[in-house]
Amino acid sequence: MSTSTVPSVARRLTLFPRLSGAAFSGILIALFLMAFLILPVAQVVYVAFLDARTGAFTLQNFEDFFNTTLFRESFLNSFYVSAMSVVFATMIALPLAYITSRFNFAGTAVIQALGIIPLIMPPFVGAVAMTLLFGRNGTFNLLLNQYFGFRIPFMEGLNGVILVQSIHYFPFILINLSAALRNIDRSMEEAAQNLGSSGVRMFRRVVFPLAMPGYLAGAALVFIKVFDDLGTPLLLNVNTMLAPQAYLRITGVGINDPMGYVISFILVAFSVFALWASFLFMRGKDYATVQKGGGGLSKRDLRPREKMLAWVTILLILALVLSPHLGLVLLAFGTIWSFSPLPDAFTLQHFATVFTQSQQYIWNTILYAGSAAIIDVVLGTAIAYIVLRTGLPGRKWLDYMATAALAVPGVVLGIGYLRMFHTVQLPFGLGQMSSFWGIIIIALAVRRLPYALRACMAALQQVSLSLEEAAESLGASKTSTIRRVVVPLMTGGILAGFVTSFATAAVELSATIMLVGRSSDAPLAYGIYLYMQSPAGRGAGAALGILAVVMVALGTYLSQRIIERDRARRAASPGADH
């Protein structure tokens, strides 16, 4: 890492003659994150405290916000919907986690699938389909009314948002809670039994408290995701929530309206607060207690009646979780579906419409999500290397900055870009920077960077330092060590990061919706949103939705396969530590 190993690239730079390649890349990445994450968000926060006319510092905007009935209601609604989504998501996740961690149960594979299925469909895609299944005149209520004479308001107003969100986001709680339960060493439970404790009492006093940090991490994530989500309320036509209000103010009233910024500030503040609170609670409570050689909690077989109960629970949840998918399929292949339990007839017409009229959505998506994912893995690999393998001062800040994107809602990033770049004119007739399609790619890249970065970090941590030292001792320079040893060994992780970034960027709506300049530049998610606006377009919207789901499902499957294959290969080679 001394100047003697400085790669030739940096040596040609006469302006900074003593800068190493790593330092140079680090500075470039820091500048990128500054320009496209920190400054836009700072700008949004700053404007929230400015008087729109005089430009002086003021708290007036916040006063106006809380004096307006609509905003107060939106704030309370957002809070209520998020909290209730956490409650319902817990009600779904808790029995599933309990069954898998405590019992030998054949349905465990189904439960694992339940943890993935919802995540492959963005909630806004299934929202309209859910209305057709569970709405006032949807399949379920029509049948209920016909046979029993009453309806259940599943989808009325905020209920609809809560239902769709909790079905979509409960896996976050399930995954975190299950992991926490799995990490409890068997001896923790045995010690309690040895001292005379058993059954529910032991679960309450010992097992659940130990799993609490995992549960809270999942619950905080669900709360933030729901609080920040724009697409679902928008598609369900619920506008009295914070994110839709921010979107409507900026697109309706204009870029200078302070209310959009106040709402953005509240969204960011809540996200940061929730992450900070869960971090604070978790600190010093690393309850991962599994010892080497010890197993997780002991499992017992279910009695026949318990087994029945478990299957009924799981199948009910499975039906609920699959209903948006089912509804979407019906919508995509049905002709007319209104006031009837099922569509009148089935057709392929909607897919034909999509392929003849709306191909640009698909190509744009591949271009945007693909480019964003490439940017993510390049930045992710570089940041991982700089953080883990160099001694550059302040290197941790690259990690913090990139990860900070997690706390920034898409709407806020979109508004920040609009504010910062609407005055920037691009050369070559590309027009305003804020409505140039390239900015969508950057927004997607910044939003998905934390995921790609984690994948790259994990991959690099598994490459033993001694493998690099071996290459260097055989005479390889730093650059060629990275190129010939480090990156090839990280391939699995990098690929997994790419696929995850791609699949999730392909269906991202909240930042995109603010930045799409014209329909011909729009990606899939935006196309779905446009189609779903009118009853006539729903069929085609659903067809696009199915394409999106297939894309994400394939991506998820691929990244799982890559990770598994990589793990298998690693297990076979003695060179890696861990």
């Binding site: 060493d185 001896s187 045995e190 404790s197 010992v206 609490m212």
Partner: protein
């Protein structure tokens, strides 16, 4: 804290994990107040046996009597045996005091009795001043003591210790084993101690059982087991042993290589003789000894020098005391081995 001394009797205990039999017919009796060790290599079934006494793991066949009560069919929480886990298993979300109070609370003791009981237990292990710490703020040795206090606080009939010293560093291990023994003597609590370390078993236990392959190889005091091992496994597991094959005729043991070793107590049908390395001396004059060989390898161990000597009966390990100034034998030197054979045990 008073304990009524309780004995343990295990009768014909079998236990399997699926198809694999881990305990194959265990019979033993542990006296009230005894400090008893289960010694064996990993996979010998010693921990499984301990866990079966506590009620963990698959249900065994056979009887486990604690006092007069057969506990084999009772769940762990009804057995009243105290177990200290290898990992200590202190609950990280509870303070030291809460950890120790857990057992008395589960037994629904009145609140005014719990406090003094907890303090007495912590006092006993010398950690009363740390009662309000969290387990993560304690050192390994302190955690170990808390785990011990937590177990003692419920006044169990017997105390089970599963490799209690294995997570401590070497110096602390020696100190802790002395403290454990002192505490056991003070309470008079029947105690079983599982270990794979023969030194730990030797220094603490009144008697011990050596296990291998799910079978008890021998039970006895440490000295009995060392001096008169029942078989080659026990001989080899307790200290280093040279085991020579041959035949016993009357007062002599004739090795396969033709060497004659006189024995004090001849055993009919004896096929093997156990020679401890320190009971053999080397002489430079090769003709004197009954056995001859050449030095293959030499290791300097400080107080001793260990030689590996190639003989007609295979390689033999010889330990000689080292005192400064003496000249050790070189590798390749031809030496005579004289054997203090009167104490050498014979095996069938």
């Amino acid at each position: 804290m008073k304990h009524i001394k309780t004995g343990i009797r295990i009768e014909n205990l079998h236990l399997s994990f699926g198809q694999t039999e881990v305990l194959a017919g265990i019979d033993m009796e542990i006296q009230p107040g005894e400090f008893f060790a289960f010694l064996g290599p990993s996979g010998s079934g010693k921990s499984t046996l301990l866990r079966a006494i506590a009620g963990f793991g698959p249900t065994p066949r056979g009887r486990i009597l604690i006092g007069d009560r057969d506990v084999a069919d009772l769940p762990p929480w009804k057995r009243n045996v105290g177990m200290v886990f290898q990992s200590y298993a202190l609950w990280p979300h509870m303070s030291v005091r809460q950890n120790v109070a857990f057992g008395p609370e589960e037994r629904r003791l009145p609140r005014r009795e719990i406090g003094p009981k907890v303090e007495a237990a912590l006092e006993l292990v010398g950690l009363l001043h740390l009662a309000d710490r969290m387990p993560s703020q304690l050192s390994g040795g302190q955690q170990q003591r808390v785990a011990l206090a937590r177990t003692i606080a419920v006044e169990p009939q017997v105390l089970l210790l599963d490799e209690p010293l294995s997570n401590l560093d070497a110096a602390l291990r020696v100190q802790m084993r002395r403290e454990l023994l002192a505490l056991q003597r003070k309470l008079g609590l029947t105690t079983i101690f599982v270990t794979h370390d023969q030194e730990e078993a030797n220094t603490t236990s009144d008697r011990m059982a050596v296990l291998d392959g799910g079978v008890i190889q021998q039970i006895g005091t440490p000295q009995e087991l060392y001096d008169t091992p029942a078989n080659a496994f026990v001989a080899g597991f307790l200290g280093t042993a040279n085991i020579l094959e041959g035949q016993c005729d009357g007062i002599r043991f004739v090795t396969r290589g033709g060497h004659v070793i006189p024995v004090a107590k001849p055993v009919a049908n004896a096929r093997r003789i156990v020679l401890r390395p320190q009971n053999i001396t080397l002489q430079g004059n090769a003709t004197e000894g009954a056995l001859r060989g050449s030095v293959r390898h030499r290791e300097f161990l400080g107080s001793q020098i260990r030689y590996l000597v190639e003989t007609a009966d295979g390689q033999i390990i010889v330990d000689t005391l080292h005192s400064s100034g003496t000249q050790p034998f070189d590798e390749g030197a031809v030496v005579g081995l004289s054997i203090d054979s009167l104490s050498a045990p014979l095996l069938s």
